[in-house]
């Protein structure tokens, strides 16, 4: 049994590897240049709202006519960058179905001005972007979803009391498929 499971895991790993590899190499610039601490003064005047978890939490519990797609990402996270265009596309295409995408950046403070802002500008991102800056991750991760281990990308879709959480990378098809159960 153990071997069967192991080989399944291996097979899945290989499979994901094949899917994952296609576009990833060109984002290599987002890999290395992050070890140095910049001056904390650089944190000021960032373009996006910065929340600690208490400030952020209400955004996970809005009770209105909208379906919210809350995506946790960071500029240094390659699979996040890869799936971002699908969230943008859904945000645009499902506007009239009362769907809103919220992109929650987990970039570190020293990356807000140097990487996050230029990235959002360069890609022309239209969805709402906020920054969640709260190092007490072990406290807040389970408040987003009990089953979340902390890996990103991760996505919460909710409408009123109905909510689903996904610790995974999405394709456009998977995302719209999951969305269907909320907007119908």
């Amino acid at each position: 049994m153990k071997y069967l499971r192991l080989s399944l895991v291996l097979f899945a790993t290989l499979l994901i590897g094949c899917i994952g590899k296609s576009k990833e190499t060109k984002d290599n610039e987002s890999d290395r240049d992050v070890s140095q601490n910049l001056d904390p003064a650089e944190e000021v005047a960032v373009k996006f709202p910065v929340y600690d978890f208490d400030g952020f939490e209400p955004l996970l519990h809005k009770d209105d006519s909208y379906t919210y797609i809350v995506n946790f990402w960071a500029t240094w996270c390659k699979p996040c960058i890869k799936e971002l265009p699908y969230f943008e596309q859904v945000n645009e295409e499902f506007k009239d179905k009362n769907v809103k995408v919220l992109l929650v950046s987990l970039d570190m403070p020293n990356m807000w001005k140097s990487r996050l802002e230029p990235f959002v500008e360069k890609k022309g991102i239209q969805s709402e972007v906020v920054i969640l800056d709260d190092p007490k991750q072990n406290d807040w991760i389970p408040k987003v979803a009990e089953e979340w281990g902390g890996g990103i990308p991760a996505t919460l879709i909710y409408k009123g009391k109905k909510r689903n959480f996904y610790e995974q990378e999405f394709t456009y098809e998977e995302l719209t498929q999951e969305l269907q159960q909320f907007i119908n």
Partner: protein
């Protein structure tokens, strides 16, 4: 004939497997209380390293980490400090880079050597070549810590999770999860927090 042989092998596998099933493996890797498998992986000095090499160890801090993840980089100094503190007490750090270097070139074996030298790593820094070890453990991100205690039955998983509760600033840490766990383990006390979560970089496969 051949099928009988295969069947025999299967039975053998199941028999040897069943000895550990009570304690090991869910589909998502180890849980606290499981027995962790040993491995043989190449260290940056070219030698193969296994847990069984450390005859006098009381346990291990197996840390899945890498060169490229910003969180892993934030924790490098703290990993060195953990090794320095606990190697002397019989619980050395064994660092494993789980990423596939062809997907993440910054985590190649050569780059691992460079980074280890730059930072003065005091512990083995192994490449999970073929990426077979991290799925077995159930590591999902870097850095991801497994505290193991050496027992008669094997290496018992005692803690899984983050190093502490503040990646940004070591001086603002309130809970040193790993240190608390190792201290309790060495004192023969119950470990209060055995599992924690943290944002990390997904492992590149």
């Amino acid at each position: 004939m051949k099928s009988i042989k295969i069947l025999g092998l299967l039975v053998l596998f199941m028999a040897t497997g069943s000895f550990s099933t009570e304690t090991t493996t869910t589909d998502e890797g180890y849980a606290v209380g499981d027995i962790a498998a040993d491995f043989s992986l190449k260290n940056i000095d070219g030698n193969m390293v296994s847990l069984s090499d450390f005859e006098n160890a009381k346990g291990f801090l197996v840390i899945f980490t890498c060169n490229t993840c910003p969180y892993a980089v934030k924790y490098e100094d703290r990993i060195i400090a953990l090794d320095t503190k606990y190697k002397a007490q019989g619980v050395p750090v064994i660092a494993i880079n789980p990423n596939n270097p062809s997907v993440q070139p910054g985590d190649s074996f050569e780059k691992m050597k460079v980074r280890a030298k730059e930072k003065g790593f005091t512990f083995p820094y192994l490449l999970d070549e073929g990426q077979k070890v991290f799925p077995q453990y159930g590591a999902t991100r870097t850095p991801h810590v497994y505290l193991l205690e050496k027992t008669d039955k094997g290496n018992l998983v005692r803690y899984i999770g983050a190093i502490d509760d503040n990646y940004q600033n070591a001086s603002q840490v309130d809970d040193k999860y790993v240190e608390n766990a190792v201290d309790a383990m060495l004192a023969g006390k119950e470990i209060e927090v055995t599992k924690t979560r943290a944002i990390g970089c997904s492992i590149k496969v």
